[in-house]
Amino acid sequence: MIVQTSVMLKLFGAVLIILAGTAIGFVQAASYVNRSKQLRLLIYSLQRLETEINYGQTFLPTALIKSSEGMEQPLSKIFTETAQLLEDSKELSMQEAWQQTIENVWGHTALRQREKDVLLRMGTVLGMSDAEDQQKHLQLAQLQLKSEEEQAVMEQQRYANMWRSLGTLGAILIVILMV
């Protein structure tokens, strides 16, 4: 009877390890899927911001909030929090608010350093010059993000499946080693 319970316990532990390994694999795969999705949403919102600035001539915090509509939580925060900072404190410049928000929010998104650089560079121009110049910089940022997105989609197709199977296989390997 005692022997049987220890076998059961071992089996239970093995199942737990395999489940955990599979979960790690799926989380890694999801980060690739999320990255391309978030990049796509970011491009849309930049397009909307461009329209707001160029045709609407909207007040910048309002334009930021409007362009964040329809986006999900981690990304929309970049826009809404910047707008909040700008409205709250009068001495903060647009560039500083933008930079501060991006530093805060970045850890919660699936995006990487290159996108961050693109956004930070774009932030130095927002609200600093005339509409035409801002439009040019927004378009440049969109172009750069688009090439990143294409690359992200390619990476997603290649590595998402790999991570899924590697997670399970690694877990099975650990179980075999511990038997």
Partner: protein, 65 residues
């Protein structure tokens, strides 16, 4: 005892082979080769006691110790 070790090594071999194929298909040949090497090292560690025993036997037979 010995039979379990053989099955264990066979399991490691199968898993490592699948990992190698997956990584190679995704174009990560270098990592695939490292994984294979890792599997080999794991296998060696599993039989290290038996190999030591074997050497002791050989020594005691041929060197009269």
């Amino acid at each position: 005892m010995e039979i379990t070790a053989i099955f264990q090594i066979a399991g490691v071999g199968i898993i490592i082979a699948i990992m190698h194929t997956v990584l190679k298909q995704m174009g990560k040949e270098d990592i695939a080769h490292w994984i294979t090497l890792l599997g080999f090292v794991i296998g060696i560690f599993m039989v290290i006691d038996v190999i030591a025993q074997l050497f002791q036997e050989i020594k005691s037979i041929f060197l009269f110790q």
